[in-house]
Amino acid sequence: MKTEVSNPGIEKRKSKLPFKSGALQQILAFSSLIVLILFFSITSRNFMEFSNIMNILLSTSVIGILALGTTLVIITGGIDLSIGTAMTLCSVMTGVFITFLGLPIPIGILLGILSGGLSGFLVGSAVAKMKIPPFIATLAMMMIAAGLALVISGTRPIYFSDTPAFTQVALGSIIPGIEIPNAVLIFFLMATIGYIILNKTVIGRYTFSIGSNEESTRLSGVNVNRWKIIIYSIAGLFTGVAGVVMAARLNSAQPALGMGYELEAIAAVVIGGTSLSGGKGTMVGTVIGALIMSVLTNGLRILSVPQEWQDVVIGIVVIFAVYADILRRRNT
């Protein structure tokens, strides 16, 4: 705390960020989401049904949780390409703990999430201590995790057939009466946790501070390396949660999946207004970004738009989101 007070420059910048300049992009993203929802509601009578809204939220959950974790990393000015396959590795580890080792479900889930934390810790250490650029360090971890997921599972899916309760983690509903799948609740819970970490804790303050100006953060006496490792580890824990949710939803750990999920998550973060150059971003924006992606995919599918065009449209949305970000920065 002392260090921050002694450096009013940083203090001033970051306190401003989540509210002022972030707000415009958030409003932009939020209004795009509303426009999309309105458009699809008018063009398709099946879009605005409760069951379809649940479909959209459920299909957002895995990518959304990944995106929340990686928002932290991106705000530090880093990038994490390992989250897709690391998520798969966490699914596989959960399978190993629950199905192979027969551990109780809660312990298996906890250890599965912690595997994500470990993977994040390793990546963070490589970035902070070995000074490997995040792009390379996480690219390496992406390959390592993809390989290990196959090695550990013996290239075969691990099923949770002996523990039927496990699938309830994603598909059950703890709120009686309302059929909101737990995966959706977990997504919102993680979003809340992410919001608190980013906006109410010292971790969040250093996340912004490192992303705005790493050097001056270091000069003001902050142990940047340690905080980076902590931030990557937290992102890893989010990855672990995504892995568990995915395994529970598929009732199996599929070792060959995951490649490419990181890019969808990063796209969601960017659409939500987090700047890839670091220092700016919000959790709410990421939630909206992830929702925009899945509303688009869902809506286009309902309209039976061919897959090829769905990808084209999402690509265009990403371009506009980043362009809006650039315009915003030019103005400030």
Binding site: N52, N55, R226, R249, Q254, N298, I302, L303
Partner: protein, 329 residues
């Protein structure tokens, strides 16, 4: 802190490498053992796209059956994963060095194998392609599943199950691979020519990704509430459809026809969520490859393609020996 981290990283890698090596030995131990044709029997070297996976084990069984029947000696080997192009080329290299009487080959990368195949041709060693085949003129024939015919059979079963009329959608694994295109077109063409009362309402692609296929099948059901059936064109797609129907609580309302096998698909057929599925005949692929190689050695003419057949399996015949032989968990 630094020490702890170095130790952790070290441990992580050592474990990974150890585990990987263990797997490696298990994978390739079978391969080179037999040496080459010392005995009088003709020797056929079979280089496949894989070895450990149950599919390839079944191909291996079929090859051995034929070897016994036609009294030839074979070796069967393949890399651990379908991305190890270099390893497969090495295997083909050493197979050629053993001076076999014929070679059976399923290319991971046809172009990478071209020089070796040309060498085989110049040494007058007949090459028989199998499974996805080899993109080249050199192989005398290709023993593989006719995916179009197999998907047409899936369409026939779907039509029968939904009573010859209604709305059907497809979840296909991809729009560019040969299997994806053939299975899609085989299904669509059969529906169009034989079942005019069945409407195909949507075709979408999930990359064979279980999660994406689940989401898109759910969206299809949302867009077409009166959907009667969905065809999933491979294991991932079919399981996606099963998940979707379960998540929507529509078991029984939607007829699911799948393709390939795997534990989840077998379970879904047993519990009735999935009506049935088409499986390739891996045993037949291995058998026909060796049989064609023997015919080539004896100088017989071969057709361009040998159809290795397929099976339809459902709740009724899933426990038959014939089916158990070709499906795997």
């Amino acid at each position: 802190m630094k020490k702890l981290f170095v130790t952790l990283f070290g441990l992580f890698f050592v474990t990974a490498v150890l585990v990987a090596c263990g797997e490696d030995e298990a994978g390739s131990s079978n391969g080179d053992s037999e040496g080459g044709g010392d005995s009088d029997k003709p020797y056929i070297a079979v280089v496949s796209k894989g070895f450990q996976h149950q599919f390839w084990q079944a191909v291996n069984r079929g090859a051995e059956q034929a070897a016994e029947e036609f009294d030839v000696e074979i070796t069967f080997e393949g890399p651990e994963s379908e991305s190890q192009v270099d390893k497969q080329i090495e295997m083909l290299r050493s197979a050629l060095d053993k001076d076999p009487d014929a070679i059976g080959f399923a290319a991971l990368d046809s172009k990478a194998a071209t020089p070796l195949l040309e060498e085989a041709e110049s040494e007058e060693i007949p090459v028989i392609a199998f499974d996805s085949g080899v993109d080249s003129d050199i192989p005398l024939t290709t023993a593989s599943t006719n995916n179009k015919a197999a998907a047409a059979a899936a369409a026939d079963h779907m039509a029968e199950l939904i009573g010859g009329e209604g709305k059907v959608a497809l979840v296909v694994h991809d729009q560019t691979s040969v299997t994806g295109v053939d299975r899609r077109d085989g299904f669509l063409e059969q529906m169009e020519s034989e079942y005019p009362d069945i409407e195909i309402v949507d075709v979408q692609y999930g990359g064979g990704d279980h999660l994406k296929s689940t989401d898109l099948a759910k969206t299809m059901m949302q867009a077409h509430p009166d959907l009667d059936g969905i065809f999933g064109s491979n294991e991932g797609s079919a399981i996606g459809v099963v998940n979707a129907v379960k998540e929507m609580g529509a078991e029984g309302d939607i007829t699911i026809v799948g393709f390939d096998s795997g534990k989840a698909q077998i379970d879904a057929i047993k519990d009735g969520t999935m009506a049935g599925a088409i499986t390739q005949n891996p045993v037949g692929i291995g058998y026909e490859t060796v049989k064609a190689a023997v015919q080539a050695i004896n100088g017989k003419e071969l057709p361009e393609v040998v159809d290795t057949g397929y099976y339809w399996y459902d709740q009724e015949n899933i426990d038959d020996e014939e089916i158990q032989e070709v499906i795997y968990e």
